[in-house]
């Protein structure tokens, strides 16, 4: 089991850490929370109404990603922050409504909200490995266009890049990766794991290559560190992971201040 937990923590930390570089860099951290909460609502509704929770979570996350992508790139050009804010409240409404119908044991539902790496099974680990692989390959092959999108979507568009298509593919892959990692940190704390390692990496990195490496390392240290702390003291895994990632970001800020590098603004 120890191998299973460590493998899950490694995959989760590296994939969510790397994903966070783009989510934070494009100033859309709400994307993560929007998709995570959609997945959470799907999982909770699926569990309560007797459907496969993972399939329901994935379905709702994909719908949320497609909707956000379409709304922000269509002629309506809606503000991504506003769209995800509305999405967040809507999906939370669905999640809590479904919880109201739950007559039995609440622990599976709560584990989806707070996460628990200790319940990871071999099949979900394989799925995590496959989807992390897809994310890594996509971000390796498309790193230049994704960097351009990260720098400025408008600049990418006027240079002739098909930024709509790229953003949509990125959002769909994000939906898959976030959903499969839901059981590690849970829907409510996913936002922190997306934001903190990436923010620490941006504070420390001198170029995009180092930012990507730092974010993945910081994500892995957060998940494995959090796993050990929760295991040793019998605490909530998701909460420990998030607290370790926050501590890492604080260290990065102190290091930035010490070496007088421009901090995260």
């Amino acid at each position: 089991m120890l191998f299973l937990w460590h493998a899950a923590a490694l995959l989760s930390g590296s994939s969510i850490g790397l994903l966070g570089v783009y989510v934070v860099g494009m100033r859309m951290p709400f994307l993560g929370i929007g998709i995570a909460h959609a997945a959470l609502a799907g999982a909770v509704a699926g569990h309560v109404f007797g459907f496969p929770p993972f399939i329901c979570a994935l379905l709702l996350a994909l719908i949320a990603a497609l909707l956000m992508s379409w709304l922000t790139t269509s002629s309506a050009q809606a503000d991504l922050g506003t769209v995800t804010g509305i999405m967040l409240s809507f999906t939370m409404g669905i999640a809590f409504l479904a919880m109201g119908f739950n007559q039995g044991d609440m622990s599976p539902v709560l584990s989806m909200m707070w996460g628990s790496i200790l319940f990871v099974r071999k099949t979900s680990l394989i799925l995590m490995a496959v989807l992390s692989g897809v994310l890594f390959i996509f971000l390796y092959l498309c790193r230049l266009p994704m960097d351009s999108l990260l720098f400025s979507r408008t600049a990418a568009r006027i240079s002739g890049m098909n930024e709509k298509k790229l953003l949509m593919v990125f959002m769909l892959i994000s939906a898959f990766v976030i959903t499969v990692n839901l059981q590690i940190v849970g829907g409510l704390l996913m936002y922190s794991l997306l934001t903190n390692p990436a923010a620490a990496a941006y504070a420390l990195g001198r170029n995009m290559k180092s930012v990507r490496v730092f974010a993945m390392l910081s994500g892995v240290v957060s998940t494995i560190g959090g796993l050990w702390i929760s295991y040793l003291w019998d605490l909530s895994t998701g909460a420990c992971i998030v607290l370790v990632s926050t501590a890492l970001y604080s260290f990065a800020l102190i290091a930035t201040w010490k070496f007088k590098k421009q901090p995260l603004q």
Partner: protein, 265 residues
């Protein structure tokens, strides 16, 4: 001579408010056109018509004899690669430590698919442009740490790396100190003289109009009130009417200056 743009009664309306138009004009390839107008006159919106990023809500527009909005997304992206655009304010992610060389590389991405890699010829062309623009020493510096003038110069270099047929500059000297304003005007004049490029430039300052701009558009309240020769446009009466304020045109060192004479009309 071939047309770059043919605009017929093109208008853009948003939330019941007309932002520009109805505008009718043609731009021939190789022409240099200056666009003058007060804040909110519709100068930037007009440029967005001309780089196929904004679809007119009524009227029609053709670029290089094609209606960009009847093309597929892929064809429209390819069309945009022929048009270099420098925005008034580039809304970029200040978190990411992209270098000036990275920025110029992004200008080539419209010519590639998602898995873009620049070839040696493109890398050499970028190096040549860095040297031509006097940016070679700053090539590996983070873009976010450059001064406003250097950033604007880098943005013009990014547009030029596309090897565009048309260059659209939206108030390239706005917010810069007089030294940088002068440097950029000289740079634009040199670019126009060296390459047979179609140039459209918007500005508030008459003396920032490159000498090659023999034709001027005067935009007032989202409408083109004058389209004609520079000598005719730069008159006290027309500019007073344009800015709704008594103006006087002075000539010094083969350059025109426009100053306010006092109270608003």
């Amino acid at each position: 001579m071939k047309n770059f743009a043919r605009v017929e009664s093109a208008m853009y309306r948003s939330q019941g408010k007309i932002l520009v138009g109805p505008a009718t004009f043609t731009v021939e390839q190789g022409e240099c056109i200056g666009i003058l107008g007060a804040n909110g006159a519709g100068k930037s919106t007009l440029l967005n018509f001309l780089n196929a990023t904004l679809r007119p809500t009524s009227g029609s527009i053709s670029l290089f004899e094609k209606n960009p909005w009847r093309l597929s997304e892929k064809e429209r992206c390819l069309l945009r690669t022929k048009i270099g655009t420098v925005m008034q304010k580039c809304d970029y992610s200040s978190l990411a430590p992209f270098t000036v060389r990275d920025l110029l590389s992004m200008g080539r991405l419209g010519f590639h698919g998602c898995a873009a890699r620049l070839d040696t010829a493109e890398k050499n062309a970028i190096q040549d442009l860095l040297e031509e623009f006097g940016l070679a020493a700053l090539a590996d510096q983070p873009y976010r740490q450059l001064s406003g003038g250097e950033q604007q110069k880098a943005q013009i270099a990014r547009a030029m790396v596309q090897n565009p047929v048309v260059l659209l500059l939206d108030e390239p000297t706005a917010g810069l100190d007089p030294d940088w304003q002068e440097k950029l005007v000289l740079l634009i004049e040199a670019l126009a003289a060296k390459r047979s490029i179609t140039l459209l430039i918007t500005t508030h300052a008459v003396h920032h109009l490159p000498r090659c701009c023999s034709r001027l558009f005067l935009l007032k309240q989202r409408d083109i009130i004058f389209d004609g020769k520079r000598e005719t446009a730069l008159s006290d009466q027309l500019l007073s009417d344009l800015y709704n304020c008594p103006m006087e045109v002075l000539r010094h060192n083969n350059r025109s200056y426009c100053i306010s004479k006092g109270d608003a009309l």
